[in-house]
Subunit: 227 residues, 2 copies
DNA sequence: AAAAGTAATTATGAATTCAATATTCAAATG
DNA sequence: CATTTGAATATTGAATTCATAATTACTTTT
């Protein structure tokens, strides 16, 4: 029995606006015009405003009473806080995954891991990131904790637009790969405590934060408005 | 019943509905009548429906397209998943707190801790819970991570209505107190790794889950509806 | 010309209206 | 008598309308 997927207009609109934010078509700090988006999507203000309220709850935009909505301006601290949190969540996912994961699932992750190593050898950064992400997602899935997955997904949404930066120093990269070697070993031993520890400390997060400095908008940007 | 006539009407309404859920006036699985709530709060359907969408995003209710809203039915698994996640978040809060916390803040927490011990000695369960909660909140505040605090708060909202159960076996309780002794020691040494570990493993969570069996609605409740 | 005050315009907040979908309940069928 | 069908009713989804607050443009004053 396949679940009937709900098609709420407001959900559709919220997703579309989320894409616009992710792709940078709506800039941080930029005021969101209701009328403009209504015309763009061909919907009335009611579902659009509902979408804005949902997006505000999800942390992508902020609503100022009687003064409209704007895209949340990500600060370095905000992004760092989010990464710290996501690292903790990944740690939990590793711990739980070891309790539930099947041999077949481990084999699948091992294969992803090997593929990732290939990309590392060839210094194919984007494919590397791609597979890397798949590994972390596989662990999350294996954690068998829906609330965890949902929470992680929401946090990821918030920072998507600044994630996966193109830069990566050789030193950090090799350390990240070493981390992954240790992760695989812990996973294959089903040592949850250890895997959790590795994932929480996984340098990947700090790397990304470190390379983000140039991507994050600073306070004195053109759209800056004090709240 | 005071009428609502404030700005950010939808937020006000969402909070009020949240209270109704927490207090059990709206039962899990019960269908939420828009008209009824509109009359109760003295608002039109527009802000009420916005509130429902926000509450759905926050995970307190669920929306079925064209079939209205209903209070989320908490399952044992769902609650356990949430507790696991909150334990991980508390672990992170402990780790971060050790990096930022001032001597004065530690002293304040030490005092809360001593008060809690008094309540334990006197077997005053509710005051114990109260102070216990304050300690965990103080650590969260000291973590200096807004995203963490917000996320924790949201998860807590979801399970508030089944938390803080009245039962607590002596054995579990004494273990929880021991955990807290170790926590204080780690905190005063500012040993983040250790404090984090203790908080993640803090028996309190498992205790609560264990005592919840009677509180959680089961599948065959009167309001049960298949999805 | 700059500042301040005021009218005009625009955008937002909320109620109402209209349309689409689900639910109810009685009649019909086997 | 149980089940199904379909009209009547109720509820939800979305657009429109009305009200209110904010912004802009335009005077007026110094």
């Amino acid at each position: 029995m396949t679940k009937i997927l709900q098609r709420n207009l407001y959900r559709e609109v919220a997703d579309r606006i989320g894409e616009l934010i992710e792709q940078g078509e709506l800039s941080p700090g930029e005021r969101i015009s209701e009328k403009q988006l209504c015309e763009r999507f061909g919907v009335s203000r009611t579902p659009l405003r509902e979408a804005l309220k949902v997006l505000a709850t999800e942390g992508l935009i902020e609503l100022l009473p009687n003064r409209g909505a704007r895209v949340v301006r990500l600060t370095m601290k905000n992004v760092k806080d989010t990464y710290d949190l996501m690292a903790a969540l990944e740690g939990l996912s590793g711990e739980l995954a070891c309790q539930h994961i099947s041999d077949a699932e481990i084999t699948a992750i091992r294969q992803l891991h090997n593929t990732m190593l290939e990309h590392y050898k060839n210094r194919d950064l984007m494919p590397y990131f791609q597979v890397n992400r798949q590994i972390h997602e596989a662990l999350l899935a294996a954690s068998n904790n829906d609330v965890l997955q949902e929470t992680y997904s929401n946090l990821n949404q918030r920072i998507k637009r600044v994630r996966y930066s193109k830069k990566m120093t050789e030193r950090y990269w090799s350390q990240a790969v070493k981390d992954h070697e240790n992760m695989m070993a812990a996973l294959e031993k089903r040592d949850g405590k250890l895997l959790g520890q590795i994932l929480r400390d996984h340098l990947c997060n700090k790397i990304e934060v470190a390379t983000l400095a140039g991507v994050i908008e600073t306070e004195d940007d053109k759209h800056a408005v004090n709240g």
